[in-house]
Amino acid sequence: MPYEVQTPVFEGPFDLLLHLIMREQVDLYQVPLVHIVDAYLAELERLDVVDLEVATEFLLIAATLVELKARRLLPGRDDVDLDDELALWEERDLLLARLLECKTFKDAARALAALGDDAARSWPRVAGLEERFLDVAPDLLAGVTAADLKAAYLRAVAPKPTPTVSLEHLHMVRANVADAVAELVDELPRVGRISFRRLTSSLIDRLEVVVRFLALLELFKQGLVDLDQASSFGDIEVVWLGGATADGDGDEFDAFDIGDDLVTTALAGIDRYDG
């Protein structure tokens, strides 16, 4: 099936992927792989070469798509490594979560723009004081010295913002499922039963929450926790079934450890933010 990927300027990889999936209502797996990759490469070429961050993100998602697609095209095999499988699901879910988030804010932005357009049809009065009140008005320059003025001028003409190498990149999501599992195995035996909301209340970044959730699913699969969601969109109740201590978790998680590299690879999108 001929598929023309007409890409307007996309704001990022999620944007492009969202576009590919939503616009044409096309099943990505019917699109020849080469077209998807081409679309991404075309985007890559548009990018400022210096912005490695964005380029990496594009590549990561392109690679994920290729893997997802390759996996889906393969006939069902019995010898599929479960950890591979799990890693791929996790990757897909992360991608899905991010796409949903992207879509949510896209629509929210549209609504804000509409609000702004409405508001712009009504001009506020800004004429200010009539002359007769100007004498009453306090002197705005009271207490301002010539030196203050000079300082203000230097501030105004100084390059902004100060070109420091941003350290904010260092403060980034540090999360992978393996670590999250380890944390949970440490924490859950002590609390026994806890709601997911409380379990994640200290986490700021969405991805950290997502990763915790994936870690819980992993524990659930291994029969170490029970999960219960009373109503859809309701809070999820987490119950530890794995016994009183977390000793010997190394044994229990052999299967997981084998897949550790894969999980790490799968979550490269998160690890990347480690700085």
């Binding site: 704001e11 990022g12 990889p13 590919l20 999936i21 939503m22 209502q25 099943d27 990505l28 019917q30 961050e53 964005v54 993100e57 996996r71 889906r72 095209l73 393969l74 006939p75 069902g76 499988e85 897909r92 879910d93 899905l96 979560a97 991010r98 949903l100 988030e101 949510t104 804010f105 629509d107 929210a108 932005a109 609504a111 804000l112 723009a113 609000l115 702004g116 409405d118 508001a119 712009a120 009504s122 001009w123 506020p124 009065r125 800004v126 004429a127 200010g128 350290l167 904010e168 403060h171 980034m172 999501v173 997911f196 909301r197 969405r206 929450v209 959730f213 969601q229 969109f233 933010y273």
Partner: protein
């Protein structure tokens, strides 16, 4: 102060004000309870509306101010040639929406949601006065946290952030979730690869229903 004197004084003060005037300030200046100020402003707004004035009294960014009636925009535009704020790009709008709904948050957190570097866009929004630094992350790195400004509320005609449409309203519905999930299917399904989305049968929809826990869970969380 008699009733109508309060009305008149409010009108006079709002006429010279250059920004929305908070009701508690009006109450203090006129020596009446804040609730009285709100009453008076409601009455004034209604009377302008009822008598079809060319201006309205509206509540924006926590205060009251005079504005032109929106339907007269074509005439006002002829007079106000300059001072039109240029429109924000799609990227800037999306970034602003993220900050509006998630504040306070760091540049890096915005970038994580957008999937791209947002430094330039954030700087533009900051320069335009729509967002500002509101705090520092207490954690390591002390990232600067951003939030929206009063100007943001003014430009959107909102009284407060509570007036933002609920984010939940924009969380994609089940059909979008399904489309996205279908687009990202991991396992080969039984259907022919050429069957498209319309061809879905009961199995298909159950498939979609079987895994959404993860996706929904995420949406749910995001709502908080």
């Amino acid at each position: 102060m008699t009733t109508s004197a309060v009305h008149r004084a409010v009108e006079a003060i709002l006429l010279v004000a250059e920004e929305p005037v908070r009701p508690d300030l009006l109450a203090q200046l006129l020596e009446v309870p804040t609730s009285r100020v709100d009453e008076v402003c409601d009455e004034l707004a209604a009377s302008y509306r009822d008598s079809g004035r060319g201006f309205i009294l509206s509540r924006v960014a926590g205060g009251y101010r005079f504005q032109t009636a929106p339907d007269l925009a074509p005439y006002v535009e002829r007079y106000v040639l300059e001072g039109q704020t240029s429109r924000l790009s799609g990227a800037a709008l999306e970034t602003m929406a993220i900050v509006a709904y998630k504040q306070p948050l760091s540049r890096a957190q915005v970038a994580a949601i957008r999937g791209v570097n947002v430094d330039g866009v954030m700087r533009t929004l900051q320069q335009r006065g729509y967002i500002e630094e509101v705090a520092r992350d207490p954690g390591p790195g002390q990232a600067v946290l951003f939030g929206t400004t009063t100007l943001f509320l003014e430009r959107l005609g909102l009284d407060s952030l509570d007036g933002l449409p609920a984010l939940a309203a924009f969380v994609p519905g089940p059909e979008v979730m399904e489309a996205l999930e279908a687009g990202l299917r991991v396992t080969p399904d039984d259907r022919s690869l050429t069957t498209d989305a319309e061809g879905e049968d009961d199995d298909g929809s159950e498939d979609a229903g079987a895994e959404p826990g993860v996706g929904r869970g995420v949406v749910d969380l995001r709502d908080e």
